[in-house]
């Protein structure tokens, strides 16, 4: 088990920098989730920690040692690859046992561990198949299993659940959390899934174009996103962000609609962030936003409404109860919760005010 420290880590491909200096201290046992848009460098960062990608500059320490120049196997890590990377010539069982065999574990111990992992991943029926004869999700589970059976100081996972079905994903997510609690392994986890990010992470790294926009606990990221980018990225549906002109005690919305809202600066332009779930249907008033519904998506428990601020083309997403009967073309008035507004600097997108604590 080991702490991981990144100091100004950078990566260039042929002179083209894709990671622009990331620093973070990950104490022993922490579960850190990396999220960010596709191509922002998540996998690259993970691969540098794993030792698969040379670090262009900066220092990487694992367990207090600088490991920049160490081979992956000298770093005592396990990793789950985004594209599985299963050994095609080995059966599922052999794939999982491979790392254990290398570390010369006794046979029965290996078997026990493989059996346990296979159980957890519902892979028993496939243990003797070759990866080629497995479905996509089955392959991904084998890739998971290969990391799970080992007991490394640090565990690196690159979108390990992305090909699993919802039910299995929930189950696996809980398993991973559970396992982490049991083993206390330092874990770096890349995902696209908000639920995974929010529920698994001790801390989140939100990356954008090779930069860490925010490093904080999930709730903090959700409740106090450090930038417009983070605000837009975390939360589904995404936060609505409008450019508004502040006036005393309120703001002028796009479409010229005035809104009474506390907590805004006295004057000037700001970017106002409002999460869909913080917009509550209400009687029309000075403190409500009139919205024309364009479409409603029913998800079962919830529904999402997509609309525009009346009299403008400014889109707004709302979250409605699953039982809503709201229809396309209807008009709804929404009252933003003044305690739940986010303000960003229109110039650089950084957060302006502290969000009021709940």
């Amino acid at each position: 088990m080991a702490a991981i420290t990144l100091k100004d880590i950078r990566k260039s491909y042929a002179g083209n920098e894709v990671i622009h200096g990331i620093s973070i201290d990950i104490p022993d046992g922490e579960f850190v989730v990396i999220v960010g848009p596709s191509g922002c460098g998540k996998s690259t960062l993970l691969r540098m920690v794993a030792g698969l990608e040379e670090i262009t500059s900066g220092t990487l320490e694992i367990g207090g040692r600088v490991v920049n120049d160490l081979e992956p196997r000298q770093r005592d890590i396990a990793m789950v690859f985004q594209n599985y990377a299963l050994y095609p010539h080995m059966s599922v069982r052999e794939n999982m046992a491979y790392g254990l065999k290398i570390s010369k574990l006794p046979k029965p111990e290996i078997e026990a561990r493989v059996a346990r992992a296979a159980d957890m991943l519902e892979l028993q029926p496939y243990l003797d198949r070759k990866p080629r004869a497995l479905s996509g999700g089955q392959r991904q589970r084998v890739a998971m299993g290969r990391a799970l059976v080992r007991d490394p100081a640090a565990l690196l996972l690159d979108e390990p659940l992305s090909n699993l079905d919802a039910k299995l994903r929930v189950q696996m997510r809980l398993e991973i959390k559970d396992m982490h609690l049991r083993t206390g392994q330092t874990t770096l986890y890349v995902t696209h899934d908000q639920v995974e990010a929010m529920t698994l992470a001790d801390r989140l790294i939100v990356m954008n174009k090779g930069i860490a926009e925010q490093i904080a606990t999930p709730l903090e990221v959700y409740e106090r996103p450090a930038s417009e980018f983070v605000a837009g990225f975390i939360g589904s549906p995404a936060m609505n962000i409008l450019t508004v002109e502040c006036r005393d005690g309120g703001a002028l919305l796009p479409g010229g609609h005035p809104l009474a809202l506390a907590g805004l600066p006295a004057a000037g332009q700001v970017r106002l962030g409002l999460r869909p779930e913080d917009l509550h249907p209400a009687q029309p008033g000075a403190d409500t936003i009139p919205v024309e519904l364009r479409s409603v998506e029913h998800l079962g428990a919830d529904a999402f409404g997509y609309g525009t601020i009346a009299g403008s083309e400014m889109p707004l997403v709302l979250r409605l109860p699953g039982s809503t009967r709201a229809q396309r073309g209807e008009r709804i008035d929404l009252r933003p919760d003044p305690a739940q507004i986010h303000l960003f600097d229109p110039a650089d997108g950084r957060r302006m005010t502290a969000r009021t604590q709940k």
Partner: protein
């Protein structure tokens, strides 16, 4: 086995046609002739021909020299295939390890292949003649009583070395191509799994290389069995005694030099059978261990 294939029925035949035609004309027809000839006893010019049934086979199989040639062949082929592939694989892996100079090494490695066997024989004679060979001389200086003309072991070493030398280039090229086809992520996965380079090589890279290795095994077996005859011919002429007389050299020598047509034909038929069995064995039992991705 492929999961998906094209459903055409006629097209594959068209695709196969040229190869089949050439094979039938230039292989099966001559082979049938050889088979016919193996039942005959005739003079070189085919003027007097008697049908003798299996007598040629009986004679050949009863000949202790034939058994000797068989033993020599097994030893020789095994050594050649093993070293030619082993060294080439080793060098191919080394070549992948370096970052600069890869192309340079690759170019130089293929050179021996560019030397015509006719010239190669001359070179090996020049280099390893016990008295004046450029390379035999240092051997002698080192106290090795180098004498492939009379010492069977030395002779075997010499022909094996020459045969291996000619074939390394070939194997090297294909191993390089094979190594490049191995998905990067698998090597990475092995590194993560804690495998040392050596271990990863034997447990991941080597198994994934098996299509190439298997191809080369077949090709090298055939090479060692057949194509090395020119080298043996030039370097030792089968000697000393019969120490380096392989089956093919014997077929050649009996048929080509000694003009004993029936024997030679019988031997080539036996040889064909041996090699067909060997290849069948390779495809049946060894190819099972080959992993096609």
């Amino acid at each position: 086995m492929r999961r998906t294939v094209f459903p055409h029925k006629l097209l594959p035949w068209l695709l196969l046609a040229p190869q089949l035609a050439i094979t039938l004309i230039f292989f099966y027809w001559p082979a049938a002739q050889a088979f016919r000839q193996s039942m005959l006893r005739e003079d070189a010019f085919g003027l007097k021909t008697t049908f003798v049934g299996l007598a040629n086979f009986r004679k050949v199989l009863a000949d202790p020299a034939y058994l000797n040639a068989l033993q020599v062949t097994v030893l020789f082929s095994a050594l050649v295939a093993f070293f030619a592939m082993g060294i080439a694989l080793f060098l191919a892996v080394q070549a992948e390890k370096v970052i600069r100079g890869k192309g340079f090494y690759r170019t130089l490695m293929i050179w021996p292949y560019a030397v015509a066997p006719a010239v190669a024989g001359m070179l090996w004679l020049f280099m390893f003649n016990p008295s004046f060979g450029t390379l035999a001389w240092p051997l002698r200086q080192m106290g090795v009583n180098w004498n492939p003309l009379l010492n069977s072991t030395h002779a075997m070493i010499l022909v094996v070395a020459a045969a291996v030398w000619k074939q390394i280039s070939y194997n090297f090229l294909f191993f390089v191509a094979g190594l490049q086809a191995i998905p990067r992520s698998l090597i990475e996965a092995a590194a993560i799994d804690g495998a040392s380079r050596r271990h990863a090589f034997w447990t991941i890279v080597f198994p994934l290389l098996t299509p190439t290795t298997f191809f080369l095994l077949v090709v090298n077996t055939v090479y060692a069995l057949f194509d090395t005859f020119g080298i043996i011919h030039a370097v030792t002429g089968g000697g000393p005694g019969k120490a380096t007389e392989t089956l093919v050299y014997k077929v050649y020598n009996d048929g080509f030099v000694n003009l004993i047509m029936g024997d030679s034909a019988a031997q080539s038929v036996i040889l064909m059978v041996i090699v067909i069995l060997l290849t069948a064995f390779q495809f049946r039992y060894i190819e099972r261990r080959v992993h096609y991705g």
